[in-house]
């Protein structure tokens, strides 16, 4: 009678260890993926606080030296400012344009609105090099010299589709009768937009702005064609590749990383809260 029992036990044990083996190897793979994804970023963060000598980190050299040098690096500071200015105005321009276009094309399938939608999406789908080149030729023809304004126009054209679609999707999810109810209660068109539509589009507008800003911030290809003397950050970094990076780049990347992380946490909280308020809509 003893043998069958021990057999059962052994197979049970084998099954358990088998399961544990699967679990632990899965864990290892997961860990490796995360390491591969984040190690380079972590390395940059580490390097922003320490000095290197012959490829080795000097652990006793912890300081904010690179951050201080970053502040005094006028070229990088100017590039960062350019990027922020371009991002801000591109978002502003696209938000206004995309909102108007979304209102105009919502639930309208005429030839005009279809054509408009095509025009909105084309630059987003075209290779950036084509968009950039076309814009360059266009600006040259109309005599607009290259500078931040041309970059802002280029970025606006590029991110418009994304902002437009985000707003339109939310708009289409709203019940048509909300607008009718508002008018029925005596509101003018403008009052309906201000009191009913915009508050319900709030989340879409915030999401779209952040996405548009992120896209604008690292857009390189179109920018290369349109930029004048004031290089944006990606263009400046691209140019620096030829002469080699200086260590304050690490400080810059770390700061951007910190900023993005905080932003992401902020969005996640905002989106979560807003979604909670909309339940049962």
């Amino acid at each position: 009678m003893g043998r069958p029992v021990s057999l059962v036990r052994r197979s049970l044990l084998a099954r358990l260890t088998g399961r544990r083996l699967v679990a632990s190897s899965l864990g290892a793979v997961t860990g490796f993926v995360f390491l591969a994804l984040y190690a380079p970023i972590l390395l940059v963060a580490v390097l922003s606080f320490f000095r290197l000598r012959r490829g080795k980190i000097l652990w006793d050299s912890f300081s904010f030296q690179w951050y201080a040098e970053l502040l005094s690096n006028r070229q990088l500071a100017e590039a960062l400012t350019s990027s922020l200015v371009v991002g801000f105005f591109s978002v502003l321009v696209t938000l206004v344009l995309a909102t108007l276009m979304a209102f105009y094309t919502d639930r309208q399938d005429t030839r005009w609105t279809l054509a408009l939608r095509f025009v909105i999406f084309l630059p987003f789908l075209l290779p950036p090099i084509i968009t950039g080149l076309s814009l360059l030729v266009f600006f040259k023809e109309i005599g607009l010299s290259r500078g931040l304004i041309t970059v802002i126009i280029g970025h606006s054209v590029f991110v418009l589709a994304l902002v437009y679609q985000t707003i339109l999707t939310r708009l289409q999810a709203l019940s048509r009768t909300l607008v009718e109810a508002s008018q029925d209660l005596g509101a003018t068109r403008w009052q309906t937009v201000r009191f009913v539509l915009l508050p319900n589009l709030r989340m879409a507008l915030v999401t779209a702005s952040l996405l548009a800003f992120a896209l604008s911030f690292d857009e390189t290809m179109i920018t290369l064609f349109l930029v004048g003397d004031n290089a944006t950050l990606p263009v400046r970094l691209y140019a620096m590749m030829r002469v080699g990076f200086t260590p304050e780049i690490n400080a810059l990347v770390t700061l951007i990383l910190l900023f993005s992380t905080l932003l992401t946490i902020g969005i996640a909280r905002f989106v979560g809260r807003d979604a909670g308020a909309q339940v049962g809509l």
């Binding site: 009768t177 009718e180 508002s182 029925d184 209660l185 509101a187 009191f195 009913v196």
Partner: protein, 383 residues
């Protein structure tokens, strides 16, 4: 705040709506009196919601005009019409609290916040929603949302309230209570209500008058009793519950007040008040309600004295017991007639195969011009 200043007379004059070649509404003439509770009743796709939307200003009529207190409002934009709508899906603003929703109509008119809140509290008390001021629509039950939508319309002191199947989303019990509530509310505020529904019982229970509409055309307008007992078309006769339609021809006046009809079932007598305005030889249809029909077992061969005015011989086809009422179908000649009888505890009144006498009085039923048919079948409504 007298009735005269609050409501007015609404007149639809030859209103039509065409989408391409599809005629949704065709030549609607309708007048709604001040302070009236009028129900527009019809199956889905009959065009009843389109009428309401045209009164509210959401849909433009293809032709015809809408007058309010003798003033043409056909081209007045939605926000300038002195009417308010209660939408089928309530259309409460999800980002506003109950009190903000209710106060919206005053807010867009530029009233001060203090006054808006005072008036909102008054109206919320009227619909028995005190204490829920700070809730959001998502936190309300269906019945509560319904009352917020009503309060939001009432606060604007409209001269007309349009209700688009407002009870459709509620369960049966709540619907009954809301019907009573709506009716008593309408009496208290003394505002004209135009109410759209596909539910016959709802229409009969609440309305001063019912406007029955089918395929974009008005079939009949009248008080509930009249529409129920004196239908003027086959559709109306069969839309409100079951009805027996008997086609025939006016023959002659046999005695004062009594006419004889020749029908497929043999001669039938019919009283004067049903037949006024018809000439001899005119084709007509008699509609007799199943509950007006009596059944008696045939004893012997002769006609018994003291029977009802009409007595036809028939054979019982089928007996369906459904609680207090039993439905009995009887074969009379080539037609089957439906009778509804009160069930007794001990036994059903008749059995299939029984020879019976089908009786009704000459004053029961309604006369419809021409050869009317059963236009309405409940299963058509899903289309």
């Amino acid at each position: 705040m007298t009735a005269e200043t609050k409501s007015g007379r609404l007149v639809l004059h030859g209103v039509s709506k065409h989408y391409g070649t599809t005629r949704v509404l065709d030549g609607i003439d309708l007048s709604v009196e001040s302070g009236e509770f009028l129900t527009i009743l019809g199956p889905s796709g009959s065009g009843k919601t389109t009428i309401l939307r045209m009164i509210g200003g959401f849909t433009e009529p293809t032709s015809g005009s809408i007058l309010f207190d003798e003033v043409d409002v056909t081209d007045v934009p939605i926000h300038r019409r002195p009417f308010n709508t209660v939408f089928q899906d309530y259309a409460l603003f999800p980002h506003m609290t109950v009190v903000q929703n209710v106060g919206y109509g005053l807010r867009v008119r530029g009233l001060r916040r203090r006054e808006i809140e005072t008036r909102a509290h008054e109206v919320l008390a009227l619909v028995a929603l005190e204490g829920l001021e700070q809730r959001y629509p998502a936190q309300l039950s269906g019945g509560q949302k319904q009352r917020v939508a009503l309060a939001r319309a009432l606060i604007c002191e409209p001269r007309l309230i349009l209700l688009d199947e407002p009870l459709a989303a509620l369960d049966a019990e709540l619907r009954r209570r809301m019907q009573q509530f709506l009716k008593s509310l309408q009496r208290r505020v003394d505002i004209t209500f135009i109410y759209v529904t596909h539910d016959q019982e709802e229409a009969i229970g609440m309305s001063d008058r019912i406007c029955v509409i089918n395929h974009g055309v008005i079939e009949q307008v009248g008080p509930p009793l009249e529409v129920y007992y004196r239908p003027r078309s086959g559709f109306v006769a069969t839309f409100f519950g079951d009805n027996n339609l008997i086609n025939g021809r006016v023959v002659e006046r046999t005695e004062p007040g009594i006419w004889r009809l020749e029908t497929g079932l043999g001669p039938i007598t019919c009283s004067d008040d049903l037949l006024s305005g018809y000439e001899e030889g005119a084709p007509v249809t008699l509609a007799v309600r199943p509950e007006a029909i009596g059944l008696r077992a045939v004893v012997g061969a002769g006609t018994e004295a003291g029977e009802a005015d009409n007595a036809l011989r028939g054979t019982v086809n089928r007996v369906e017991f459904s609680g207090p009422i039993s439905e009995v179908t009887v074969q009379v000649g080539e037609q089957t007639l439906l009778a509804k009888m009160t069930s007794t505890v001990s036994a059903l009144p008749v059995q299939p195969g029984d020879a019976v006498r089908v009786t009704w009085n000459s004053g029961d039923g309604a006369i419809i011009a021409g050869d009317a048919e059963h236009h309405y079948r409940p299963d058509e409504e899903s289309t």
